[in-house]
Symmetry: C2
Subunit: 283 residues, 2 copies
Amino acid sequence: MAADIWFTERQTSDVTLGLRVREVLWQEETPYQHLMVAETAAYGRLLTLDGAVQTTERDEFFYHEMIAHVPLTVHPRPRRVAVVGGGDGGVIREILRHPEVGVAHLVEIDGRVMEAGRRFFPQLSAELDNPRAEIHLVDGIQWMREQGLQDAKLDVVIVDSTDPVGPATGLFGEVFYRSVHDALGPDGVLVAQTESPMLQPHLIQQAQAAMRAVFPHVYLYLAPVPTYPSGWWSFSLASKGPRPENARAVRLPTRYWTPAIQQAAFVLPPFLARLLSQAGVAG
Amino acid sequence: MAADIWFTERQTSDVTLGLRVREVLWQEETPYQHLMVAETAAYGRLLTLDGAVQTTERDEFFYHEMIAHVPLTVHPRPRRVAVVGGGDGGVIREILRHPEVGVAHLVEIDGRVMEAGRRFFPQLSAELDNPRAEIHLVDGIQWMREQGLQDAKLDVVIVDSTDPVGPATGLFGEVFYRSVHDALGPDGVLVAQTESPMLQPHLIQQAQAAMRAVFPHVYLYLAPVPTYPSGWWSFSLASKGPRPENARAVRLPTRYWTPAIQQAAFVLPPFLARLLSQAGVAG
């Protein structure tokens, strides 16, 4: 009888997710974090960083489609896009489905994540060698600060970060959002993953308040991501002008995202609307 | 240092959810199933049947509001309602928020579930003694068959069942749905919980195909339920006539459900639309 091997994520101090593991394929301490790749029975290949699920083969499409296509259709004509984090390549793959995008910068601090993507997740990393993808293995906070000094502005910035501990902490604050604002052109749109509405509501409040200090329009939208804590995830969208209700109804070959799913994702339940108004970030 | 106690649900053979337990409050073998009540750190009071999460204090509102208010607003004037299962009282509580409902039958096979609701979940069981609630501690399949012979027809039937193993198996099949059809009046609406779109898609296909064999209009809608497998749940709605797009825009003091959330819940992602069309149950 085969050994019973489980990966367990301590999603909070009081909640765990367990996934049966067929084989641990890779483990290493990178300069920034612990990285593991395993083959799971339920979700196929799994990538973890510091013990937290980043992505799985079977449910990655919810997250990658929703973090990419929403800002790219809210912006009227996205040509220059940047992703901070997301070294596995999943967000770049979705961005490059939009033919009007001329360049997609991938700004990943940890080159080992990209290496794991290329080696173990061919469906995610497929577009990393696309000539429209420009890869920068540097600190996203510093890269963004330098972009603000450039003449060529970005249209969309996507923050595909890990949780706000370790290397990603600075990516959830007002100082970073100000750099993003300065790097974006006049119709600029920012989207960041902002954790679980059920388990990290305080973090949503913080991130939304910090965005609102910098951007005139700030929104929250929601999607299922089964292997993330609570299975339900939030994304915060900040805009210099364009509004979600005017998003372009683009057609793409997707599994979760559609223009109708996108409109539905911005409908907030009363308990979350109250949470945002308590933080002074409603409407 | 206190002992480290965890409740773990084997959601499938390959996925677990773990919840830290402060105290196990009750355990018993009822005539039908194993019942446990515990105080958890993350979600407050927890009720399990045969080791599966039924409800928790902190996330019960997603499920109870979505299984009750959707059919009750799709029906043009619901006066007579029946719930099969749901002995904890959560669905009855939501139903009785609709003043036009004259009687809400609760048909629960296991009286011990209701007892646990009354004793440990006052927020769920609050309306069980409401004079508009009629409690029947009998088999729902047989009760429904007898209803079909009555002159007084039901307007809405809600199947708040456990998973399709053990006592609930018969509640997912065509024979039972035919009894429901016969028990419903001309505008009758049925809603049943039909498990996780991520982990039990075959079950959704089966239930929808069985409903379609009996009812002219069948729909699927979705909601987050963080402590259920994958955190994302499906409900199947079958109707003799009324359609979700014409639902009444009722105002109620809720935490998740609103008329706008309800409309959004019927928007299906492409992978699920394909799943239904494969089962010949689309549109």
